[in-house]
Symmetry: C2
Subunit: 351 residues, 2 copies
């Protein structure tokens, strides 16, 4: 196959899905995987078959892609502002699937209800709260005000959710999980105080999910776990053998202790948080470090052997969600042999 | 239109293309724009109409896309290793277009010739040299050895090229341009010493092109200049009004001096070199800084007014080549009104 291409090891993928299903089940949590990671109907199907209660998506476009592929329970975990054709598109998705949407402010609740108009009863609403990531979501203790406003506008509020994204740090992972639990508990209380039942209490991310328990949360929404990536490895959550997705690249130059691969930022992405060493991970070359990444080059320094010109090398991206969104299909492998190709049905579905 | 989308201001695009055409013409240089930036037949056509001698591309896939769109003079500025179907694909492109390829080592020259076999006379070859960026390309003074090896293998060597990528720094920009010139001069001498005429002496990048002159170089290959981006602004090469491409995003949350936009790394990319302030540039909000970027969120802090919930905001990416590769089409605007949509024909063509 011509490089670079992105491949998924089916055995590792299956094991990762089974392990998360087992762990969340044992913790008494429903699993609603975030499909923004894989954007792939076959993987969503494996998750559903393993017992996932539905899918999480980030955009209406992703919801459209998965609804068209037959998935009928979708949570768009994003405080949408429904301008342009978005209200109509959302209502169309809700005609074939159970759809939950997010609001995170009193003003946003009014805008959501106004844009949906008569279609407002087609969706359920979760109030997004901030558990420490400081992105979207309001104060947990004020979730009641938002929920009340949404209800007053005729929206059906069924609970609360948060994303503990500040758990993407080796030192903060468990603390973020505890903040998530406390924030969800406070927000649930705030809804209950206004006689709005917080039936759904949704949290979770791949780094924090192992500390999530069913005493406060009802469901979790990890995304990365089917594949894993270099971030998860450097977070200490997994071993190299738990990584199911990698790009395959060719050595196009070798000189001294350096070599250059034909996989760059246009297939790997360029995220590099402080806790990650290098721009990607070379699982079969332990002494190697990706010291620079341009659009079509990964520059590698190694303390080990320099592979031959033309050799093919597996490259694990730092953040797999970015990589998948850069390709049209995933090559599926079993025992190192390509057995299938799966289309990335949500690629580029940002709106 | 539903946000986020990526728009190109036609008047600014035309002015940028005209200015680069004029400047390179005045310097006595042929212009061979890098099409990896725009991946768009309409823009390549404007560049050709303005006098570009051909296009530069980074991959065989990009060459295929532009050859299919009728462009008949293509330089693949990358030291390809022709495994898989690449040799056949390259020969097919060379059947409808004049094609130049790159080699940067004696070993690579042999591999290129061997993979092309009887098709080796369909392409011209440039020897890539390193002028300080330390990525691909060998020592300038050893370019003669590489050229000789290529010629001995039956390849038609017509010159040398380099990419002064280390000019992407405000302090290094002009120094890199001078290193480029010196390296090309040394490499050209090394070819001439072996009776191989260095007819083509190709350099240039958007940050360094203004210091390129026709005394040593014959052509330049800037890519970013039709659009420009936040990097070019922070490099001091352009003003904000010279930026032709931006994403349009919607304010989905506002709180205090912060707001959140619905354009994230899946439409903007995440590059952030040290000389760039923030993850993107908001040209209409001078006091605003993008302090965090996740897949579908840009978190902004501002010393100015916080725009209304639902307001639409222009967001200029740090590195435009990455942004274009994330969308299927560019919305073309004139006087702020959408007048056309251009497909990104080379999107994802990494192989």
């Amino acid at each position: 196959m011509d490089t670079p291409y992105v491949a998924v090891d089916l055995a590792v993928l299956r094991a990762n899905i089974a392990a998360m299903t087992d762990a969340t089940g044992a913790a008494g949590l429903s699993l609603r995987p975030h499909a923004k990671t894989h954007k792939c109907a076959q993987i969503a199907g494996m998750q559903r078959d393993a017992g996932a209660v539905g899918l999480t998506v980030a955009t209406i476009g992703e919801a459209e892609a998965f609804a068209a592929a037959g998935f009928d329970d979708l949570f768009i975990a994003y405080p949408l502002y429904l301008s342009g054709t978005k209200a109509r598109r959302l209502a169309d998705v809700a005609a074939s699937a159970a759809v939950r949407v997010a609001v995170d402010s009193v003003e946003g609740a009014g805008a959501m209800a106004s844009a949906l108009g008569a279609d407002r009863d087609r969706v359920e609403v979760l109030v997004e709260i901030d558990s420490g990531h400081h992105r979207t979501g309001g104060e947990p203790t004020r979730a009641g005000e938002v929920a009340q406003a949404a209800r007053d506008h005729g929206l059906r509020v069924v609970g609360v959710f948060t994303f503990p994204g500040h758990g993407y740090s080796p030192d903060a992972r468990m603390a973020a999980a505890h903040q998530e639990r406390d924030a969800i508990a406070a927000a649930a209380d705030a809804l209950a105080a206004r006689d709005i039942e917080p039936r759904v209490r949704s949290g979770g991310s791949t780094p924090t999910v192992e500390a999530a328990t069913g005493d406060v949360l009802t469901e979790v929404r990890p995304g990365v776990y089917p594949f894993n990536d270099a971030q998860q490895f450097h977070l200490g959550r997994i071993g190299v053998d738990d990584i199911a997705l990698s790009a395959t690249a060719t050595v196009v130059r070798r000189a001294g202790d350096r070599f250059v691969l034909d996989a760059g930022s246009k297939v790997l992405g360029t995220e590099r948080p402080a806790y990650v060493d290098g721009f990607a991970l070379l699982p079969d070359h332990p002494g190697a470090r990706v010291v620079a990444l341009s659009e079509h080059h990964a520059t590698v320094e190694t303390t080990g052997d320099v592979p031959d010109l033309g050799a093919q090398v597996r490259v694990v991206p730092n953040h797999v969600c970015i990589t998948v969104n850069l390709v049209d299909e995933l090559v599926v492998t079993e025992g190192g042999r390509a057995v299938d190709r799966w289309p990335v049905i949500g690629r580029g579905a940002n709106a």
